[in-house]
């Protein structure tokens, strides 16, 4: 327990102390939130109805997909995991503690956005707070798992950035953050359901914001949780202590399993 608390405490401070993580955890999402708050209502007044969940989803994508993979890849390349292994630090701690501390940073950012958006921009507040919290946790868990998994399967920082952007960019365009899901063309709407951002926005709208969901919002929350669990399990299974180690537990394509809950939702939802 003492080891976990020490490790968690160090990782949490790193999220603030490290300039890159500080940028991705706080400066980028909060700066983007302020910018969107000033610009978007002029273009689309309906934006204010979903501004809070949209900005929370954006913050989550930035902190997890952009913030989590690179430090994991760099630590493996720098021999930090080898040192951890020798000193008995388990792979489960190496993978889950940065994810948990990132979620804690996201809680702080979410509280800031939720508390200030109505005051600064007259944004609509959630109407169901427990569901708001539940959806946030499901989304943060799913995205943190995805970020960790990208870090584990990527052989280099460059590849990690590529994988992260492959999810981040479509999430921004199709995830329902800027445009409602219902306004997307049919095919794009279906494809977007493979993204955690779409599922999260759907669950926020249907369960927390008092709006009509585009598809089953409870199913979205379940899909996010299951995808998160799969991501962490596969990440721990595929984890490699050392880039010089030629033996791997399994094939990196196993990572595609995290899409399974979304595919099932798409096919049977």
């Amino acid at each position: 327990m003492n080891a976990f608390v020490n490790h968690f405490s160090f990782e949490f401070r790193t999220g603030i102390r490290n300039k890159q993580l500080q940028l991705l955890n706080y400066l980028f999402p909060l700066g983007f939130y302020l910018m969107m708050g000033f610009i978007m209502p002029e273009i689309n007044t309906l934006f204010l109805e979903s501004m809070i969940p949209a900005m929370v989803v954006f913050a989550t994508l930035a902190a997890t997909l952009l913030g989590l993979p690179d430090p994991l890849v760099n630590a493996r390349e720098a021999g930090i995991f080898r040192n951890y292994k020798i000193n008995g630090i388990p792979s489960s701690s190496i993978l889950t503690i940065p994810a948990l501390t990132t979620i804690l940073h996201l809680v702080i950012v979410t509280v800031i956005i939720t508390a200030t958006a109505p005051l600064l921009f007259d944004a609509r507040l959630p109407v169901n707070w427990p569901n708001y919290g539940l959806t946030f946790m499901a989304m943060a868990f799913a995205c943190a798992g995805l970020g960790v998994l990208i870090g584990v399967i990527s052989p280099s920082s460059r590849t990690a950035v590529l994988w992260s952007q492959l999810i981040f960019v479509p999430s921004m365009l199709l995830g329902g953050l800027m445009l409602p899901h219902s306004m997307l063309p049919d095919v794009a709407g279906k494809v977007s359901q493979l993204l955690p951002a779409t599922q999260a926005m759907n669950a926020f709208n249907g369960l927390a914001m008092g709006k009509v969901a585009d598809f089953d919002p409870v199913g979205s929350v379940i899909a996010l949780f299951v995808s998160g669990v799969l991501a962490f399990v596969v990440a721990i299974y595929l984890f490699n202590w050392d880039s010089r180690n030629t033996t791997r537990h399994g094939h990196p394509l196993l990572a595609l399993l995290v899409l399974l809950p979304y595919v099932i939702g798409l096919l049977f939802g």
Partner: protein
């Protein structure tokens, strides 16, 4: 003789077609400082990493304090301490945090005294990337010994250290040795290996080409012992002189210099010559081949005796 703490039997490690270690065997006794030497690619790192539980052997058997490193990694972690060549710490961690973190995972109280002793007290709250390479190595050493391991692996421990830090580290090594810690020292610094090691093994091409005390290893080579003699009358400065076992001779700064293959007869003959010539001896120095000389001899001849 104390029981071996490290036992290596017919250890073999391969990477595809490359044979990194080819069936080596050695024992290291408790409280011994054992130098593992060899040029790059000799098999040192594969041997060390297998003993540390980072790699699995492809053949043979390894034991560290009675533990099989590949099969019992959980037991091994509290028995060994490792200072890796690269410090292997996150850039943003401070020495204080690193000490707390590593000691927590070893379930021991943090050893902040080690940070003080190794000159890290003023930088306890500096981030790792802000430390000089010397301080980074000192921190790695402090973390490696904080849980009082039975066996300590040091990989190039003094690389990048200044003279004072190097002396402090050697003192710490001797102190640990006196307390019964077994130390495996992998280094390219031959002077350090010769000074600190009780025994050394030189690896080449995955095999042990020589093993023994530094004295034994330097004595078995074909290296010549240098005898430098300064006399008042300069009776030895004469290229026509011939002494037993001397293969080369020269003159430098009023010293007659002889290179001998058998030091006893050479020195006796030189002393006798000085007496016969009624000359007066001012200075006589004997320099046996160093471990570095022997290392170069072994590695350049491919280990052929």
């Amino acid at each position: 003789m104390t029981a071996p703490v490290i036992e290596v039997r017919d250890f073999r490690k391969t990477y595809g077609d490359l044979v990194a270690v080819d069936g080596i065997s050695l024992d290291v006794r408790q409280g011994e400082i054992f130098g593992l030497l060899g040029p790059n690619g000799a098999g040192k790192t594969s041997t060390l990493e297998s003993l540390e539980g980072l790699r699995s052997p492809d053949g043979g058997a390894l034991r560290v304090a009675g533990i099989d490193p590949a099969r019992e990694p959980r037991k091994l972690r509290n028995v060994i301490g490792v200072q890796l060549q690269s410090a292997g710490l996150p850039e943003s961690i401070t020495p204080d945090e690193a000490m707390k973190l590593f000691c927590a995972y070893h379930d021991v109280a943090p050893r902040f005294d080690l940070l003080e002793r190794l000159g890290l007290n003023e930088k306890r709250n500096a981030q790792f990337f802000e430390l000089s390479s010397g301080l980074q190595r000192r921190l790695a050493l402090a973390l490696a010994v904080a849980h009082n391991p039975q066996v300590l692996f040091l990989d190039e421990p003094t690389a990048g250290l200044d003279v004072a830090s190097r002396v402090e580290l050697h003192n710490l090594m001797r102190e640990l040795q006196a307390n019964g810690t077994t130390i495996i020292l992998a280094t390219h610094d031959m002077a350090e290996a010769e000074e600190m090691s009780d025994r050394v093994a030189i690896l080449l091409g995955g095999k042990i080409v020589t093993i023994g005390t530094p004295m034994e290893i330097t004595a078995t080579g074909a290296g010549l012992t240098k005898v430098s003699v300064h006399t008042q009358g300069g009776s030895l400065i004469n290229p026509e002189l011939h002494f037993p076992a001397v293969s080369q001779q020269s003159v430098k700064d009023d010293y007659a210099i002889f290179f001998s293959t058998d030091i006893g007869p050479t020195v006796s003959a030189i002393i006798a010559h000085i007496e016969v010539q009624e000359d007066t001896l001012i200075d006589l120095r004997v320099e046996r081949p160093s471990l570095e000389d022997r290392f170069l001899e072994v590695t350049t001849t491919g280990g052929a005796q």
